[in-house]
């Protein structure tokens, strides 16, 4: 009888367990990799590095929402949920506490992951489990990823806890006693210290195992570019000379490999190939430039192709950092849902303000708008659709998915245009206005040229010390081909007319033009809010930021436009509320 009592009791217990509905199947698997077994050799270390980047990918959606939807070029469609609308309106007091897009928790998960990997790398190093060279490269890479994530947090939250411990529990970050909040300026100083201290600032050496191609994907531009991050950090800190130095190192990083095409083309914002259109410039069919129907609007040729072409020679001339999404691995590409009208949910669209910016430009064939408008955006009825993220997914003409299960795409993080604009911003602030204008307008060779002189020996170059030394000589007799002779300037490459510079206040005017060019060239690529905030802080002029958000909101008839403008005139309201709900 006792046996049957135990039997019925156990039936009751099973019923009880079953009745609670959840956590029933949370059984710990038998074969678990214990932490101590995880870092044994170089391959474990490589797996840890790739793991960090895998986690980093999960930040892509928030990164673009924070930097573009908060800013003036991107807005919501009427299909967007209220959380997205809150980000669009950008009234930080009115953001719901449960808005998942604002929650910075995932960013700290990446940071803690980095901290854990860094700590273990140090242990491995002490135990001689990999060589100093192997250690230096991997350690520096992960430190750069962490610094990049911190920079993003600083830009959008103003003051954030700076944690370098490998914590098991992400929520422990919120303990303000242990991890006090760092002001953005303090954070910048800290990040510069961290990044200047890393032992290795170049790309992984080509012999490193992390550089082996994976699934046909070339890994060279998969990892963060540490020098461009250092350039950005110094630019935020208004240390223009330092910023320009790091940017210049990136621009010239392929110069001394014994390959002239690398030297002339990579990161040089190269001129258009008007005869073949095999370039990444804005162009038309030759001798039919007057015919708008011949605009090169393709996935294999011209400016638009840089967002969807395979990693070929031309792709290599532009991209500095680009992370791939593939249907074959997690996380899934978040951009198709956000942007695609067909196969996605079309939650976001270009703002009227972005159209107005493009429509105020003139192409060099007289067409009264910037062709980058039609190469960045398609129209469905009267509503725009951002195509930069979906060109791999859908057909250009019909906008129908080529294969709706192939949701490949890229997170466009850094490219030559951004590099040139930021270098020009630093150079302009450092007193080199003419150089900045050359990079913005029609190329270094042309601004330093004298067309009446056939001997180019002493012209078409800056005659300045590093990092402002540029040789763009392109002479026939005597023959010269300077490293920068193919540089076309950003507006040259985009086939738009050149900016006239007013000599009396060239500094502010050029800076305004550089920021506006970034909007025209890199709209929706996740750097607009950064640009507006950086200039507003530098000039101590909140209206630089507030007016632009006002323009977006008022042009779409948002009743909050005036209220949001006056709020943004106060720096405190630039930052989103730093909090997340701790799960019990």
């Amino acid at each position: 009888m006792k046996k049957s009592f135990i039997y019925s009791l156990s039936v009751a217990m099973i019923c009880f367990a079953g009745s609670s509905c959840s956590k029933f199947l949370d059984v710990e698997p038998d074969e678990v990799l214990v932490k101590e077994q995880m870092y044994r050799n170089i391959y474990d270390a490589d797996a840890a590095v790739i793991g960090v980047y895998g986690k980093l990918l999960s930040l892509a959606e928030q990164h673009v929402l924070w930097n573009e939807l908060r800013a003036d070029l991107l807005t919501v469609t009427n299909r967007a949920n209220p959380y997205l609308q809150e980000i669009n309106t950008n009234d930080v007091d009115a953001i719901s506490s449960d808005n998942p897009y604002v929650n910075p928790r995932k960013f700290y998960e990446v940071i803690l992951n980095c901290n854990d990997v860094l700590a273990n790398f140090e242990v491995m190093r002490k135990e001689n489990k990999f060589t100093p060279e192997e250690y230096n490269q991997r350690y520096s890479d992960i430190m750069a990823v962490r610094s990049w994530v911190y920079l993003q947090l600083g830009i959008h939250f103003g003051r954030v806890p700076y944690v370098t411990d490998p914590l098991e529990d992400t929520d422990a970050v919120l303990d303000n006693n242990k991890y006090p909040l760092l002001e953005f300026e303090q954070l910048l100083t800290q990040l510069i210290t961290d990044m200047e201290a890393i032992p290795y600032k170049l790309l992984y050496s080509s012999t490193e195992s992390l550089m082996y191609a994976v699934d046909g994907y070339i890994m060279e531009r998969f990892y963060i570019n540490k020098q461009s991050l250092l350039g950005d950090l110094h630019l935020w800190k208004n240390d223009y000379q330092k910023a320009a130095e790091y940017y210049k190192l990136v621009m010239t990083s392929y110069d001394n490999l014994g390959n002239d095409n690398f030297r002339y083309d990579r990161y040089k914002v190269k001129w258009a190939e008007v005869a073949t259109n095999n370039d990444i410039a804005v162009g038309y069919l030759r001798y039919r430039e007057q015919d708008v129907r011949t605009l090169i609007n393709s996935k294999t040729q011209g400016w638009r192709s840089m967002f969807s072409r395979t990693q070929d020679v031309l792709w290599d001339t532009e991209w500095v950092w680009s992370l791939p999404f593939s249907s074959n691995f997690s996380p899934q590409n978040p951009f198709i849902s956000l942007f695609a009208a067909n196969g996605g949910d079309h939650l976001l669209k270009p703002s009227q303000e972005s159209f107005d910016l493009w429509n105020s430009q003139t192409q060099r064939n007289g067409v009264p708008y910037d062709a980058r408008r039609d190469l960045s955006v398609s129209m469905i009825g009267k509503e725009g659709v951002v195509t930069k993220y979906t060109d791999e997914f859908s057909d250009i003409g019909t906008m129908v998915p080529i294969d709706k299960f192939q949701r490949d795409g890229k997170w466009h993080l850094y490219r030559a245009a951004k590099l040139h604009l930021r270098f020009a911003e630093a150079a302009n602030r450092d007193g080199h206005h003419k150089l900045a204008v050359g990079l913005l307008n029609n190329g270094i060779g042309r601004v330093y040229d004298d067309p009446n002189q056939t001997d180019k020996t002493d012209i078409q170059q800056t005659h300045l010390p590093f990092p402002y030394d540029f040789d763009a000589r392109n002479g026939s007799n005597p023959f010269y081909r300077g490293t920068w002779h193919r540089n076309d300037g950003l507006r040259g490459r985009a086939y738009v007319t050149f900016r006239d510079i007013n000599p009396t206040d060239s500094l502010t005017q050029i800076e305004n033009y550089l920021i506006e060019e970034a909007a025209l060239e890199m709209a929706f690529e996740g750097s607009r809010w950064e640009d507006l905030l950086r200039i507003a802080i530098r000039r101590n002029d909140p209206s630089f930021l507030a007016d632009k958000i006002y323009e977006k909101l008022s042009k779409e008839g948002n009743p909050q436009a005036d209220a949001v403008r006056s709020k943004l005139m106060n720096r405190e309201n630039w930052y989103m509320p730093f909090k997340w709900n701790v799960e019990e």
Binding site: M1, S8, V11, S20, Q290, P368
Partner: protein, 482 residues
């Protein structure tokens, strides 16, 4: 020993109780949300409704009750008894009329009371569409709402929903009016000598008015239609005859004249007399001045309003609207120059974008771009172009010729069909950076027909001098003063 016998069922009971509370049942929740729903069929519920007894009598007498057989869900809008009695007195005994009357109170599917300001357009079994908005259906208020049965729902309303005529039904019922008679005659009669084979059963295919001006049979569109008294209508047509001279054929021209009058009497919004704006725009872009004092009678229709006019309010000059020919929409070229043909986009001094056509460096002497228009009135036209010469440093010349649309056998070779010239404007300078219209002159069109304008380049093969450029041609019809 015995104790355990008690414990076992108790444990079993706990078991069952725990299972019960463990997960909620979505079906129970669903049922809770629909409190008030009974398990009786709709017809049984209506039979118990005292205020619906008069309506139920008519429903059964007309045989429409057989539709409510439980195979589909319906919503019945039953008028109160007093209203039904009043309405029955004026209702004809014709069974079809009665069936239609009843069907106009029933809609497929269930529709709860719509208290919002957003209009729900309900299609009733009669085929008519009624507006359901602000707790009213077609203006009738609800005295009892949302009464559900297993196969539908009913509401008690404070007025009957008598089916109204559609505009098409109205025209058929008032075919003694010449204006309506003409529109109806288009079911059989073709305005132009088109050889299209048309289905005599399908008015829409044959009737030019339904096809081109508005399908007034459609219950889902809204219309405002003005109707002239017979003598006014005839006078209007007579007055307009000089503009519609079709091949010097009196009967055809008269029919076209009538068509040209009625096409500007229909508008695709519904306006009651009080809501009429001062000016309406017809489908052919003619502005129609509204003079409410000229309206002697207004009739509400299921899909709009008819207003009877005592006098004509539309002056002929309003009907003479400009015809534009867009440069970038050519019909053809005298030689293939597609490689040298540019569709350009430019901004005019007012900031408006426009697209034009430019054919440049094509090495053809007297190259022609050929256009065509829709039918144009037989009158004199002033002709303008806008042609922007902005990328060349020299001034060049081009000319416009007007040709008949219909071809005829050539005098030299009767096997070759040619288009006869109507008028040729002289070669005219295209000055640099001129965004203004340039007046070319006037020409007379004798026949109401389409025309073929041709843009011709200079008679030279020299690049830069034989360039053609055109934003648009504008034809301004003139009032005849006889």
């Amino acid at each position: 020993m015995k104790k355990h016998h008690i414990v076992r069922p108790v444990i079993g009971l706990i078991c069952i109780l725990l299972l019960q509370v463990g997960c909620s049942d979505p079906w129970d929740e669903h049922a809770r949300d629909n409190a008030g729903l009974t398990n009786e069929p709709l017809l049984e519920r209506l039979d118990q409704e005292s205020e619906a007894s008069e309506f139920m009598k008519l429903l059964r007498a007309s045989g429409v009750d057989e539709i409510l057989d439980g195979n589909n869900a319906y919503t019945v809008f039953a008028p109160e008894n007093s209203r039904m009695q009043a309405a029955l007195a004026g209702l004809s005994d014709d069974p079809e009329t009665r069936v239609n009357f009843v069907k106009n109170h029933i809609a497929v599917s269930t529709h709860r009371l719509n208290a919002s300001a957003d209009t729900v357009r309900l299609t009733m079994l009669s085929g008519k569409t009624l507006d359901f908005v602000n707790s009213e259906i077609d203006g009738a208020a609800f005295s009892k709402s949302n009464q559900a049965g297993t196969d539908g729902m009913y509401h008690i309303i404070t007025d009957v929903l008598t089916p109204r005529q559609s505009l098409w039904e109205y025209m058929n019922a008032h075919s003694d009016e010449r204006q309506n008679a003409f529109i109806l005659s288009l079911n059989e009669y073709n305005l132009y000598d088109t050889a299209a084979v048309e289905d005599p059963e399908d008015y829409y295919l044959n009737n030019e008015f339904l096809r081109e001006v508005g399908d007034v049979r459609d219950e889902n569109q809204h219309f405002t239609y003005f109707i002239l008294k017979n003598e006014d209508f005839t006078a209007e047509v007579e007055q307009f005859l000089p503009y519609v001279n079709y091949r010097n054929h009196a009967d055809s021209s008269y029919a076209i004249g009538q068509y040209e009058i009625v096409k500007d009497m229909l508008f695709k919004q519904a306006y009651s007399r009080d809501n009429l704006p001062a000016m309406l725009l017809s489908t052919s872009n003619v502005s129609f001045p509204v003079d409410k004092s000229a309206i002697s009678q207004s009739v509400r229709l299921s899909n709009g309003w008819v207003h009877v006019l005592d006098r004509s309010t539309l002056p002929v000059v309003n009907k003479l609207i400009d015809t534009y020919v867009q440069g970038e929409e050519p019909w053809g070229f005298s030689e293939s120059v597609s490689d040298r043909t540019f569709h350009r986009v430019r901004k005019d001094p007012f900031g408006e974008f426009f697209t034009d056509i430019m054919v440049q460096n094509h090495k053809v002497s007297s190259l022609q771009i050929i256009y065509r228009t829709s039918r144009m009135y037989s009158t004199t036209y002033d002709v303008y172009w806008r042609a922007l010469n902005d990328i060349q440093t020299n001034v060049f010349q081009q000319q416009v010729g007007i040709f008949e649309f219909d071809t005829r056998p050539s005098e030299e070779d009767p096997d070759v069909e040619v288009r006869k010239s109507i008028y040729e404007f002289p070669y005219t300078n295209v000055e640099r950076n001129n965004y203004n219209e340039v007046y070319l002159g006037e020409f007379n069109l004798a026949d109401y027909n389409r025309i073929v304008p041709v843009l011709r380049s200079a008679a030279t093969t020299a690049d830069g001098n034989n360039t053609l450029v055109l934003d648009y041609l504008r034809f301004v019809p003139k009032l005849k003063t006889n």
